[in-house]
């Protein structure tokens, strides 16, 4: 019966020990697997209920995007550069990986404020909303991977055998997205500006990351992409599929470590601020 007693005092999360809070975070996450799954199913069903095209929307977006890019390339507006594989294969693989980050980030950032009154009227771990909205982005990713497979077949390109390890090398990007998403969803509760900023920045980042082109043509872009940890995390898994190698392993490992730290740091802040969130939302 003893552990059944809950005591709440001011600033309770901060007053817990450093490691005790981490332990609590993990055990809470373990306990709320069911709820994350429920939120995922709920949002998934709700999303396509009143839509005729339904799930098709997930692939319409990247296809039309690449179509525009091909057109622009053909008409000479932009220069894609020399690529060893057919452009659609190259671009679509990269873009699909990228979109987990982009849609995941937008989804997680809005996850708390769009949950409505449950956040302020019911007590439950708010992380579940963030995790489930990332699961949503992950599901979209899986659907898009089918499209990627079709394009591979169409262009008669075969992925490297190392592509089997793709799921492992994809994890750091997921962790980074979750980490940034946790922090931004919290900041979004405080100030709604975050939503707009995220939309803007992800669009910029797409062009600053060599996904739709091979190499930055401008010196400035090249410098930026050297410090952009998204570059190794997105191009790494892509190159693994296309060429069977990670182009820049050192950068990839560095980015992985940073992602993990970002995730732990953000999650902790999120957990510390969980109660305060409900007061400003």
């Amino acid at each position: 019966m003893e552990d059944n007693i809950k005591i709440s005092i001011p600033e309770f999360p901060v007053k817990q020990g450093f490691f005790k809070l981490f332990r609590e975070m993990f055990s809470e996450l373990k306990k709320s697997r069911e709820l994350i799954f429920r939120f995922f199913i709920r949002d998934f069903r709700a999303r396509y209920k009143q839509s005729l095209l339904g799930i098709a929307w997930i692939i319409i977006m990247p296809v039309s995007f690449i179509g525009v890019f091909i057109l622009m390339n053909k008409s000479g507006i932009i220069n894609i550069g020399e690529i060893d594989v057919p452009y659609p294969v190259f671009a679509l693989t990269g873009l699909t990986i990228w979109q987990l980050f982009a849609t995941g980030l937008i989804g997680t950032t809005n996850s708390i404020i769009s949950a409505g009154s449950i956040v302020i009227k019911i007590n439950f771990p708010k992380e579940t909303l963030v995790f489930s909205s990332l699961a949503q982005a992950f599901f979209d990713f899986l659907i898009r991977m089918f499209l990627v497979a079709l394009v591979f077949i169409f262009y008669k390109v075969s992925p490297s055998w190392q592509a089997l390890f793709f799921p492992i090398f994809f994890i750091p990007l997921i962790i980074l997205t979750l980490g940034i998403g946790l922090l931004l969803s919290l900041l979004n509760c405080i100030s709604r500006d975050i939503t707009n900023v995220v939309g803007l920045v992800t669009t910029f980042l797409l062009f600053l990351t060599p996904i739709l082109y091979q190499k930055p043509a401008v010196k400035l872009f090249e410098n930026i992409s050297r410090y952009n940890i998204l570059v190794p995390l997105v191009t790494g898994p892509r190159d693994l599929i296309l060429y069977g190698r990670i182009t820049n392993p050192a950068a990839y490992i560095g980015a992985t470590v940073i992602s993990l730290l970002v995730f732990l740091f953000s999650w902790r802040i999120f957990h510390l601020a969980e109660y305060k969130m409900t007061e400003v939302i």
Partner: protein
């Protein structure tokens, strides 16, 4: 023996709890950001200090709730009732003090919070059940019970956005009670359901109570609260004004609302009024059966200044014979012009059970507007069919103003009545039974 030990067990203890709120959103954004930044570096924010623009929504509130108790909380808007529930539900943390809670808390602070409008009722049961901490297995097991209790028919498989507000409440309440919390918090939500459903809810609440569950209800419906709680907390502005037995709570709360004075200051309030000489016409106090411990409230624009109980020979009495026809007469003096006065009375047992109440309004009697210094005598003639025992009489004068009843002078339990009976019948009412016996001869 076990039953007695569980009923005295404290399950909730609120110790000196304070909670502050802010009026401005921009300030709120800034303060929360500052506090979180401090927290990142492991520094607790100094929540016990008020910053500019903050105020105490709850100020040093302490109370305890025993296991199996049904507690009501009433108070004007902004008194902090919902804040108490949110603290109990662990949605927000206190800024001062501590709260100890034993057991699982189920909160109905907003019914159907978390319902997704696009999903069907059945789909929403899974989501809402999970929010309340139920596993899929548990939900599957209780699905039939939840649907049966909600009683919304085929709508269970329609999107929730097509539900009426009543159906919403039915489903929400049903899920919450079937999540089997040890402590159930209910905030002004049952008002939406229709009467049969309200009854069903209160029956369910009684069932939960019998199963030693603890229930805390916040409502503005005083009569519902009186019938369904064991103790009522009257909230003032962020503080507990008093804790009352349900039967007393309504009058004390109305006193608070009409005077903005704490119930604890009632005697001083009366004294002050007396010194202002408006109560000096009162001769009730000189009567033999006047109860010194009366609870009196109202704005004093009219006052009961005298009363008399007369038997059928017109003689003033203090003891009534069971089933005797008597007249209760009260004299009311008006100190200001009152357009629509209403007179009423009620009889209660000594332990606060309402036996009978009536008023000029219930009888459809329109009373003429009264001028300053007018005096009206009101007679209630009745057959006093109560068994022998001690009773209290409560009388009042009120005013109808813009569809509202404003207490002018209400004197709760101000007369003490003794009823004697010639027979040894039991109970509180005398139905004047005749017993006839016929011996049927067998041929």
């Amino acid at each position: 023996m076990e039953a007695t030990s569980t009923t005295t067990e404290t399950i909730i203890s609120f110790k000196g709890v304070s909670k502050k709120f802010r009026k401005s959103l921009k300030q709120s954004m800034l303060y929360v950001f500052q506090d979180i930044t401090k927290n990142i570096f492991g520094i607790p924010a100094r929540t016990e200090i008020l910053k500019p623009g903050e105020f105490w929504a709850l100020d040093n509130v302490s109370f305890e709730v025993k296991k199996g108790e049904t507690l009501g909380i009433i108070g004007p808007n902004g008194a902090g009732k919902t804040t108490i529930l949110k603290l109990l539900a662990n949605i927000i943390l206190p800024d001062k003090g501590s709260i100890e809670i034993e057991g699982k808390v189920g909160s109905l602070i907003e019914i159907g919070a978390g319902f997704h409008p696009m999903l069907t009722g059945r789909e929403n049961i899974y989501v809402n059940g999970a929010i309340f901490g139920m596993s899929k297995k548990e939900i599957d097991k209780r699905m039939e019970d939840i649907i049966e209790f909600a009683d919304i028919g085929d709508f269970i498989d329609s999107p929730v956005k097509y539900y009426s507000s009543g159906m919403y409440v039915r489903l929400g309440f049903s899920i919450a009670v079937h999540s089997e919390p040890d402590i159930l918090l209910i905030d002004e939500v049952l008002a939406v359901g229709d009467l049969p459903f309200q009854n069903k809810c209160f029956n369910k609440i009684k069932q939960l109570k019998n199963a030693s569950k603890t229930i805390i209800i916040v409502s503005h419906n005083l009569h519902l609260m009186e019938r369904n709680t064991e103790r009522i907390i009257i909230m003032g502005k962020g503080t507990i004004d008093s804790v009352e037995k349900p039967v007393d709570a309504i009058d004390k709360y109305l006193f608070y609302l009409s005077t903005h004075e704490s119930v604890k200051h009632q005697t001083e309030y009366l004294k002050e009024k007396q010194e202002l000489s408006s109560f000096s016409d009162d001769v009730c106090k000189n009567k033999k059966n006047y109860n010194n411990n009366e609870f009196r409230y109202g704005n004093g624009k009219a006052q009961i200044i005298d009363f008399m109980i007369l038997n059928n020979q017109g003689k003033e009495v203090t003891t009534i014979l069971s089933n005797e026809t008597i007249i209760f007469r009260m004299k009311v003096k008006f100190y200001q012009q009152i357009e629509k006065p209403v007179f009423g009375m009620e009889i209660r047992t000594s332990d606060g059970f309402r036996i009978y109440g009536t008023s000029s309004y219930y009888h459809g009697i329109e009373i003429k507007p009264q001028m300053e210094n007018d005096i009206v005598s009101v007679e209630f003639k009745m057959n006093f069919s109560l068994q022998n025992g001690n009773y209290f009489l409560y009388a009042g004068v009120s005013e109808f103003l813009n569809d509202e009843v404003i207490p002018l002078d209400r004197r709760v339990d101000f007369i003490y009545i003794t009823v004697t009976s010639k027979n040894n019948d039991t109970g509180i009412v005398n139905l004047n039974t005749q017993i006839e016996i016929y011996y049927e001869a067998l041929n």
